[in-house]
């Protein structure tokens, strides 16, 4: 959790969310308090893509072990990435589209910092 917060505070991401198995939010942190509600809507909508990507039987070619879902969707202002654990806990990260963060950096952020043992308080 601390890592996530630091990830947010170093202005790499504008919003971080942890979503439970039943798609209810467990933790949402947004950089800009004013935009928090708007970002929540975005994160919530991004779950559509997560659901679709994790739908059983749809994509047998995709490596099921690859828990990093990649770019869920992007708009002019934001890019949303996702990561899902084996227990269907989702990590959603919203990045400013103008940010210089590259795709592979997001991936490493997800894998290295989130996957081993996310400390959910």
């Amino acid at each position: 959790m601390l890592l996530l917060v630091s990830f947010t505070t170093t202005r790499m991401a504008v919003c971080i969310a942890i979503i439970a198995k039943d798609n209810s939010p467990q933790y949402i942190a947004a950089l800009d308090f004013e935009k928090e509600l708007e970002l929540q809507y975005r994160v919530h909508s991004a779950l559509d893509v997560v659901d679709e990507k994790c739908a059983p039987g749809l994509k047998p070619s995709q490596d099921s072990r690859d828990l990093y879902l990649g770019l869920l969707y992007s708009t002019e202002s934001h890019k949303i990435y996702g990561y899902i654990t084996n227990t269907k806990i989702k990590f959603i990260i919203v990045i400013d589209s103008n940010s210089l963060l590259r795709e592979n950096e997001v991936r490493s952020a997800n894998l290295n910092h989130m996957s081993p043992e996310p400390e959910i308080k």
Binding site: P25, H44, D48, Y73
Partner: protein, 1296 residues
């Protein structure tokens, strides 16, 4: 002319088609002309040529061709694209003009008509001067066409061509007959060719102009490229068209964008982008289209133009997006697959977003300039312009510009933004739904509702909001839910919807809705205002219209407003529990409700009611008082009548008592719902809780309240235990029963109620898995018992406070716990006395009930069934009786040779021993009355001891009894049956088959049993099927006194299979299945005494054999049945254990040897040893016998003899011996060999066999008595011979 410059004109959006003009058709008067025109117009499907036809009136005026410029050097156009150019070429100026004329080749007025036609053609040519438009003439003729070789045809057609001055290819003849449609199609394709030629020519012309342009002619370059692209589209050359449009777009980019030309550049770029994207989709390059569109938007996003008209820019962007989305949609219709992350909905959404921005920015701009006035006279002409994207003349005087901005703003005011936004959002929603984005769609729906609110349609907005509330609530996105709920509340307030306002207000009280406390108090206050029938409008606010609306709504609304609390999160925490999971029928059902409010504000409730249900009817209970629970104490009981203020986080308990209802007995009550009323008498909310009462928490939540609410174990169902007026007491003694024992069971049925019961009955049933292993009987007379698997005892009426004993016997063939089903029933005639309000047709045993009883183990004891009949109630109760059963004996049997050697197979005409070891296993003492063997008729039993056997009594556990008998067979087992059926039997020692031990045979078998279990099973099955050994069974209709003949028949019946399933349940399924139903019901009579039963069958012991060998796959002979009659010490009931003795194979021997000694032998008294050799074979045998000398005996007579024995005859050898010593003495060794001197070697084996026979049958030792003793041995000494070899085992009968 529309003021909205952002809208794409329709001529741009339609796909350009070649225009063909149809002249000379008089549609109104001439039906033939009409039908021709219709066949051109109608049925234009994809397979027909893509043409646009236009009917030209006789006086149609073609646009006049402008004179071409010689040089473009000084020409500066005022705009890029003329507004009329596309329209002209799409709709006005045809590529081909087709003139239809009614002229027959053989027309009598040919020359006149020819002239007329020529003049029309000429006038067309005149009006089309300067154009390349082709003119074609079609002659309409009736009847079948004349061949072209016809003289008149060729002459007159040539004449026509020359007169009209047209190309010969442009002349057609259309015969108006049944093949009209085919002719029309052919004409069409010819016209398309002409059109192609026309547009090709036109393109060349444009290209010619282009070549004259210089680098400064930006506008013209773009115009020409656009024209070329458009013409290429007319020619269906899409890739060329795309090329030209792309070039035009590139040229456009070179122009510097300033505020004044911004609108035009954006308009034209929008046109070009639209055309490019459309063609890209058409050419199946959707990625290119998307990329192009993105770049386009990116490039012009920042080109806002005039600040005062920035809304125009957003309008333009919105249009770009929606136009692209439409193109995308069309492409999808034509088979393009779209993705969840890339579909038209995204563009519609974006378009809607820009439209919102357009609206917002307009409002800002308008507010800034609202004080400026406008001169109305200029409005009309300011938008007029020859060019796309150009307003008025291009004079950039500041005053003029100011005027223009004002006019545009004024026009914008008339635009209905909300309608457009709603339209776009609806389109986007449909797309998002299609591409599986439910959540995104929800967001769009919210936006839509927001827009409805802005447009003032609160009712519609409310509908959408309420739909979305549930979705967000289910996903537990509370921050979002809070926003939606507040919006809904606002919408319901503005729409004056009482129900929604109350529902939303109640939900807003939930702590999960993140509003601060002051807001919550306002919500509560407003809610109470509504309850008091007062509009919830703050007094400071002046809204007379809304107020009257609310007043009307409140007047029309009738209470109650039902609020489903299951959907509202964690406002009230309720636990309803029955006081006990089951109550007796005459007891009162009590329930408790624990209630805790989680809201930050106190709630005042009035009535608390609970609905209970059994599956048939519902019952309502109301609480009258409550108790407040504190950490460890309870407050005093208070009445609920004047309301209760439920304070935050306090726990209250309500007591419900169901005094007034008569529940149906044997039913299950469950909680249907809880109702809490909040509000005034006139207006109130009915809060219902249903499923949340049953919700179970997986984790125990942290309990910050010091009350017991968390620890309550809720009983969600209550079983109404029916009253059963009978009790049974089974006086089974503590001791277990024994296998094969007739065990007496006594049950006392007691009616301890003040009620007489009718038709009392009890039935005992053997469960299916124990059928044919356990039997029940009521009659235990000496000679027979009827054995049943079910007995029913009808007691009749039972008076109040009386009891009746019943008695029956159980006999089991197996050990273990025996479970019997006991069913007890009775009937009460006067139902009303028992159950006052009971309806007669109530079915208690509903499926739900059964299902519901499963998880509740408490109900298992009430296996009761209640049937309501017309004249009374019948109650049936099922019980299970468990009787432990233990073995009485362990029995083992073996066969031995006379020399006490274990025998694997016997010889014909040989005596052998059969020894039975019986060990008492019973826990109690047992008197053995008799042990005997009933042998098969192939066998002869000889008594081993002449003395009648005496049994000690009683036998205790672990004591052993032995029994030995001599058996003899005169036939080999192969002769017992047809020889071809018999197969070699594996080595098999004596086997005892106990019927009761079917399942655990191994313990009973001799350890050297090597027969495979499969064979074993099969054998046993067959055996059992045929030999009702353990109980001789005859049908019950027969009396014991009936004559033997009948009996015999019945036996043979049974041996043919009827009895099979009586004794064996596991084998031979076909038979079992056939007779199962019957056999379960037929009672059987079983003779207890096996001997008697055999005698009754006329000594027909043959059935044993018949039984064992009638099946072809029989392998092991059965020697008979071993019976043990016994009883418990001190009891009178006799029992009989019957065991099947499975034998060994008996074969022919090459030689039988019998040896006879004197009864008594004394020292120094001569004795005779007589040896009889019998040749059972069909050949003569020659033998050499010899008697070896011995120290202990003197032998007289010859000791070596050559003997030859004829077939089937015998030879006696007699030796005189003279014992020299007393006591156990070794007899002289006797030897025989085959006397085949020629071939000694080969006979070694045969000789060894002979010697083994000698060893088998010849005694080894004799006991020599001392001559002086007077012995009085009462035994037959020939018995002696049998027991010589092993002295240790001989003590049985030698009481020396």
């Amino acid at each position: 002319m529309s003021a909205d410059t952002s809208i794409l004109p329709s001529e741009l959006i339609t796909t350009p088609l070649p225009l063909i003009g149809l002249a000379g058709l008089d549609v109104d008067k001439n039906p033939i002309h009409k039908s021709i025109l219709e066949s051109f117009y109608t049925n234009r499907k994809a397979d027909r040529a893509q043409i646009h036809f236009k009917l030209l009136a006789p006086n149609y005026e073609f646009p006049v061709s402008k004179p071409k410029r010689q040089t473009y050097e000084w020409y500066q156009p005022k705009g890029i694209l003329k507004k009329n150019w596309m329209l002209k070429h799409l709709h006005v100026l045809p590529a081909v003009v087709v003139l239809f004329q009614d002229i027959e080749w053989n027309d009598p007025q040919w020359s006149e008509k020819l002239l007329q036609c020529a003049s029309i053609v000429q006038s067309l040519k005149n009006s089309l001067q300067g154009r390349n438009t082709k003119i074609s003439v079609v002659l309409l003729q009736k009847g079948s066409p004349l061949p072209s070789t016809d003289v008149i045809v060729s002459e007159r057609s040539a004449n026509l061509i020359s007169k009209c001055d047209i190309n010969s290819k442009m002349l057609f003849v259309l015969s108006h007959n049944e093949h009209l449609m085919g002719c029309i199609l052919r004409l069409e394709s010819a016209f398309v060719d002409f059109a192609q030629g026309y547009y090709k020519q036109m393109a060349q012309q444009v290209r010619l102009h282009r070549d004259q342009l210089t680098t400064s002619h930006h506008f013209l370059k773009i115009r020409h490229q656009f024209k070329l692209g458009f013409i290429a589209e007319m020619r269906f050359d899409f890739s060329t068209a795309l090329k030209h449009y792309s070039q035009a777009y590139v040229n456009l980019e070179e122009i510097r964008v300033v505020d004044t030309n911004c609108l035009e550049i954006k308009t034209i770029s929008g046109f070009l982008n639209y055309k490019m994207c459309k063609l890209m989709f058409r050419l199946n390059a959707p990625r290119d289209a998307i990329t192009q569109f993105r770049n386009h938007v990116e490039r012009f996003k920042s080109r806002t133009g005039f600040k005062e008209l920035i809304f125009e820019h957003f309008g333009w962007l919105s249009t770009q997006y929606s136009a692209f989305a439409d193109l995308f949609c069309d492409a999808i219709k034509n088979g393009l697959p779209a993705l969840q992350t890339q579909h038209p909905g995204l563009y519609f959404h974006k378009s809607a977003e820009y439209l919102v921005k357009r609206k917002e920015t307009f409002q800002v701009c308008y507010a800034q300039s609202s004080n400026q006035t406008l001169d109305g006279s200029q409005v009309s002409n300011i938008f007029w312009s020859d060019y796309f994207g150009v307003r008025g003349t291009k004079i950039s005087e500041p005053i003029h510009e100011q005027q223009m901005i004002l006019i545009v703003q004024q026009t914008e005011k008339n635009f209905n933004h909300s309608a457009a936004i709603i339209n776009l959002l609806s389109k986007a929603r449909a797309q998002f739904k299609q591409y599986k984005c439910p959540r995104f769609r929800r967001k769009l729906t919210l936006d839509l509702a927001d827009e409805y609110v802005k447009s003032g349609d609160h009712q519609k907005a409310l509908t959408f909001y309420i739909l979305m509330l549930g979705d967000y609530r289910d996903e537990m996105w509370h921050p979002v839910l809070t926003e939606v709920l507040l919006k809904t509340l606002r919408a319901s307030f503005l729409a004056a919807s009482v129900v929604d306002f109350i529902t939303c207000s109640v939900e807003a009280l939930s702590p999960k809705i993140a509003i601060n406390e002051s807001e919550r108090i306002i919500v509560l206050e407003n809610l109470w205002k509504v309850f008091q029938n007062v509009p919830p409008i703050p007094s400071s606010q002046k809204a007379p219209e809304l107020k009257s609306q609310w007043e009307a709504a409140l007047l029309n609304h009738t209470a109650p407003t039902v609020v489903d609390m299951d959907r509202i999160l964690e406002l009230l925490e309720c636990i309803v529990t029955f006081e006990s999971p089951q109550v007796k029928f005459d007891e009162t059902v009590k329930l408790q409700l624990y209630l805790r409010s989680k809201s930050a504000v106190p709630l005042k409730i009035r009535v608390v009611a609970l609905w209970l249900t059994d599956s048939n009817s519902n019952y309502k209970l109301q609480a009258h008082s409550y108790v407040e629970l504190k950490s460890n104490a309870e407050s005093n009981q208070k009445s609920i009548d004047d309301g209760l203020l439920v304070e935050t986080n306090k726990c209250y308990r309500f007591q419900f008592t169901a005094n007034d209802f008569n529940f149906v007995e044997n039913s299950e009550l469950s909680i249907l719902r809880l109702e809490i009323i909040m509000g005034s008498d006139r207006q109130y909310a009915l809060l219902t809780l249903k499923s949340s009462l049953k919700a179970t928490k997986n984790f125990k939540s942290y309990n910050p309240h010091h009350d017991s609410l968390e620890n309550i174990q809720a009983n969600s169902i209550c079983y109404i235990v029916p009253t059963f007026h009978l009790t049974t007491q089974n006086s089974l003694c503590d001791q277990p029963m024994l296998v094969n024992e007739y065990f007496k069971s006594t049950a006392v049925i007691t009616n301890s109620f003040d009620l007489a019961l009718q038709n009392v009955g009890v039935s005992i049933t053997v469960p299916p898995n124990l059928r044919n292993k356990v039997f029940i009987t009521v009659d235990l007379s000496k000679t027979r018992q009827k054995l049943n698997s079910q007995i029913q005892i009808d007691v009749g009426d039972l008076q109040m406070h009386s009891s009746v004993p019943i008695q029956y016997y159980i006999v089991s063939l197996i050990g273990g716990n025996i479970e019997l089903h006991q069913k007890l029933w009775y009937q009460i005639d006067n139902v009303e006395a028992v159950n006052a309000n009971q309806k007669s047709d109530v079915i208690v045993e509903s499926p739900e009930h059964k299902e519901a009883t499963k998880p509740n183990p408490n109900n298992k004891t009430h296996n009761m069934n209640i049937e309501y009949t017309n004249d009374g109630v019948k109650k049936v109760k099922d019980d299970t009786i468990i009787i432990p059963c233990v073995e009485e004996f362990a029995v083992q049997g073996r066969f031995f040779t006379l020399n006490k050697q274990a025998m694997t197979r016997g010889f014909r005409n040989e005596d052998f021993l059969f020894r039975v070891d019986l060990e008492v296993k019973s826990w109690c003492d047992i008197d053995i009355l008799d042990m005997f063997f009933i042998c098969d008729h192939n066998l002869i039993e000889k008594q081993y001891s002449k003395q009648r056997r005496k049994f000690n009594s009683p036998y205790k556990t672990g004591q052993k009894v032995k029994d030995i008998m001599i058996l003899h067979s005169t036939k080999s087992t192969s002769q017992w049956v047809a020889a071809n059926d018999l197969q070699k039997v594996d080595k098999q020692n004596v086997l005892f088959q106990r019927i009761r031990n079917i399942d655990k045979q191994s313990t009973e078998y001799s350890p050297i049993s090597t027969i495979s279990s499969e064979k074993d099973d099969k054998y046993k099955s067959n055996l059992l099927s045929k030999i009702p050994i353990n109980s001789t069974i005859v049908p019950s209709i027969m009396n014991a006194s009936q004559n033997a003949g009948v009996m015999k028949r019945s036996f043979s019946d049974m041996s043919k299979g009827k009895s099979s399933n009586l004794l064996t349940s596991s084998f031979n399924e076909s038979i079992a299945a056939k007779d199962e139903t019957k056999s379960a019901m037929i009672s059987k009579t079983i003779y207890n005494k096996a001997i008697d039963s055999f005698q009754l069958t006329d000594y027909c012991r043959g059935f044993l054999k018949e039984g064992s060998y009638s099946e072809s796959n029989m392998l092991i002979p059965v020697f008979g049945v071993y019976c043990v009659r016994w009883r418990r010490s001190g009891c009178t009931e006799e029992n009989e254990t019957k065991l099947i003795v499975r034998g060994i194979e008996i074969i022919d021997s090459p030689l039988n040897i019998y040896c006879v000694l004197d009864d008594k032998m004394y020292v120094k008294v001569p004795m005779t040893l007589k040896i009889t050799l019998v040749n059972p074979t069909v050949k003569a045998i020659r033998l050499r016998a010899s008697m070896k000398t011995s120290e202990n005996f003197m032998i007289s007579g010859s000791t070596q003899l050559n003997i030859s024995i004829y077939s089937q005859s015998s030879f006696d050898l007699s030796f005189n011996l003279y014992p020299l010593k007393a006591g156990w003495q070794q007899l002289p060794v006797f030897e025989i060999r085959y006397n085949n001197t020629q071939d000694d070697e080969q006979n070694t084996e045969a000789n060894a066999e002979l010697q083994s026979l000698v060893n088998r049958w010849m005694p080894k030792k004799v006991f020599i008595l001392v001559s002086t003793c007077v012995l009085d041995l009462g035994y037959q000494l020939n018995l002696f011979l049998c027991i010589l070899a092993d002295a240790a085992t001989l003590q049985v009968n030698l009481a020396v």
